[in-house]
Symmetry: C2
């Protein structure tokens, strides 16, 4: 950036929807406070929007509907991208960075899928592309990984990073309701989109996990290598069995550094009820992080909402305004927290992951079935930790098994053999169980 | 500081006890990682210690036992103060700052009681006095308030900020044990000091709360105005009654900005069991923060221990090393997060605080006592939320009351009148109840 400390820090905003509108509101409402923190006024000087609401007109310096007019405005020090999506957001961000402006964005898809090239461009131009608000809304988890835990080799992290999914699972757990019923209600309440695929099939969480893994381990963004399962296959029956075994089911994003490579996976996960993370309910998000020095720390709060997300957008603005006020020659923080990236760490295929497992195997209640299942598991070096086989009035009864730690490839082979057994009369349900042991495993 | 970006960042450490030793270990073990994050080597170049352990000798550049030799070493960019206490820590820190060195300290007493003059000195010399590790060990709560939540007007925060106290209350709650028994065991296990006063009487928590309140609200440090109660008066009986009412008892530090002034208080507090903060157990710490934009966020993790505390010391080192590497002209962050402090905000006397209350009033079981108590409370505008009066085989039976929100001065007057009633046959126990409503109250 190489700017002399100026008298004020000028903000351009493109897109005044939910997050952009919230950002404008926080910057306006807390103007004096922000100036006290930065030591200079932070002023919105140029806004492009197609959605100006009447109550926003007063005092807002709208230049028109063209975001590129903001990206090319020489008076703007920092552009806030709150358009969303890729087109025109990608080009607008690219243009602003190329013009030597900092960019702050809440656009998780853009960062997760196009971040590598945008970060390279930012570095080339000596500016920063900041994205605190792209993960977990108002929880400052990006800065925590970049700064607060910077002394640590991060061993793993696990997060509830989609509020819609957590709301649905919380309701299903509390009232024994069906996934489809709760989803429908969530849509009516505005907690879920009309097309809920992004949320309930884990794509949104996978975007966020990709970003978290990069800043935790210093690896390039690799969204296409993140394994993703949604929550639509979770049933009240499985929630109830998990409960009997002392667990709750949460939709987690897990990133772990292992001697074999990096795990990046999003899926329903059984957690012991005593875990603080298991008690994060409703639309809240939370991330549990394990570092080699600090051990485990947890961060929770609102993962969405206009004002919570704007809190993180404006935190990034303040961060960069403070740097300009201090007269830095280049950004203090590399965009992903590392000046040199770890390019050798490969992402593991899901079949190479080791985990404990919850299995529900529907069988016809015949003598010897359990023994046969146990034998097959044993053949594949999979030890059983616990079993539930309840009395049933029907012919069909599920066998529920918790396994000890096993390699997923071996489990898959075992389940294939088991599913071919004549007594197995339906689809086998399998979920991963996370005990959160310490580091380095 | 006004230094040109140098080729490496030189650290001096004074005191190699628990935290100093942990700091050295993290800097050594994660040397390469830290260089990747900073972009330059961070090197320990001078250590003064009186407690060098044989296993620490190899490769440690010990100059001797005199901490001032480190404070006056022109090659040292940053001094880590891990001596503890005031003498000679205060003078060492003062000298280092006066010499234009950054200082990182874990010394909460020093910051809480002498921080105002030291921060002024740091500012005068263009350097930073950093203290992440002084509050809540490995949880990066200082940076969170300074940076991650910087967009927010902080309305209030409440924290479990003493691990010893939380361990004792957790054990008392889980097993119905007496305070004195658990304390004795904690001392044997090394969780509590031989003289436990600092921990169990709330002084340690008051130091930390003083610091949190300053960075949250931008007010000068005012340790002497922090109201402090310890946990030694908490009984299994009160824990049990609280449980019956749906609450757990935690030792909290609470800071709140109200229209009348700032509350700063440390005391046993009833929290609804459903609160995530109520589920933070054992030696862990946690801080719940409410900001006007973000709402409530929670941060939890280990509040003590050599490596967890060192995690925060080294995070501060990395923060300042990154700033030097970026060639800043002055520190990016003011020590307390504000370039202008709020000097007009006064700290409220505890009698001016409004709260809900838990009361346990030992009475002789006579007709009309409850009615009399209710009348006295009503006279002082105190409404009753809930009452427990159990059958008893003895003459003496406690009346347990939860009140609605009331001013403490009025409650004190009411309790004085009640205690004079002939049927009241012992000391009235009173604890505050915290419902954690939103902002601005």
């Amino acid at each position: 950036m190489n700017k002399q400390a100026a008298q004020q820090f000028n903000i351009g905003i493109v897109g005044l929807g939910t997050v952009g509108g919230g950002t404008l509101e926080v910057l306006t409402r807390n103007k004096q406070l922000i100036e006290q923190r930065v030591g200079q006024p932070v002023v919105v000087t140029n806004v492009a929007t197609r959605t100006l609401r009447p109550e926003q007109v007063a005092g807002v310096p709208v230049s028109g509907t063209d975001p590129f007019a903001v990206a090319n405005d020489p008076n703007v020090d920092l552009l806030v991208e709150t358009i969303g999506g890729f087109d025109p957001a990608f080009e607008v961000v690219r243009q602003a960075l190329a013009n030597g402006k900092h960019v702050v964005t809440a656009n998780k898809a853009l960062i997760a899928e196009r971040g590598n090239e945008l970060f390279a461009l930012a570095e080339q131009h000596g500016v920063c592309l900041a994205y605190e608000s792209s993960v977990a809304g108002g929880i400052p988890i990006i800065k925590t990984l970049r700064d607060g835990l910077a002394a640590n080799r991060i061993d793993w992290l696990a997060g509830i990073i989609n509020g819609t999914g957590n709301y649905i699972l919380t309701e299903m757990s509390a009232y024994g309701r069906l996934f489809a019923d709760v989803l429908k209600e969530a849509q009516e309440l505005g907690y879920a989109e009309a097309d809920p695929t992004f949320d309930v099939e884990g794509i949104d969480a996978a975007h966020k996990l990709t970003i978290l893994a990069s800043i935790a381990f210093g690896i390039p963004l690799q969204f296409d290598k993140t394994y993703t399962e949604g929550i639509s296959y979770v049933t009240p029956e499985d929630i109830s069995y998990a409960n009997d075994l002392g667990y709750v089911i949460k939709h987690l994003g897990i990133a772990r550094r292992t001697p074999k490579g990096v795990e990046m996976r999003v899926h329903p996960t059984l957690l012991a009820k005593s875990q603080l993370l298991a008690n994060v309910n409703g639309v809240d998000n939370a991330i549990l992080v394990h570092g080699d020095a600090v051990g485990s720390t947890l961060y929770s709060g609102p993962g969405a909402g206009a004002m919570a997300t704007a809190s993180s957008v404006v935190a990034d603005i303040i961060d960069l305004a403070r740097q300009q006020a201090a007269g830095v020659g280049k950004p203090v923080y590399p965009s992903l927290g590392y000046t040199q990236m770890e390019t050798e760490l490969r992402v593991l295929d899901i079949e190479d992951v080791e985990s404990e497992y919850y299995l529900r195997i529907p069988v016809q209640d015949k003598v010897g079935v359990m023994a046969r299942i146990a034998t097959v598991l044993e053949t594949h070096n999979i030890n059983i930790e616990a079993v539930i086989q309840k009395e049933s009035e029907s012919d069909e009864v599920p066998i529920v098994i918790l396994t000890q730690r096993a390699i997923e490839r071996e489990l898959n082979k075992a389940l294939e053999e088991i599913s071919e057994h004549a007594a197995v009369c339906g689809e086998i349900i399998r979920m991963r169980v996370e005990p959160f042991h310490g580091g380095g495993n």
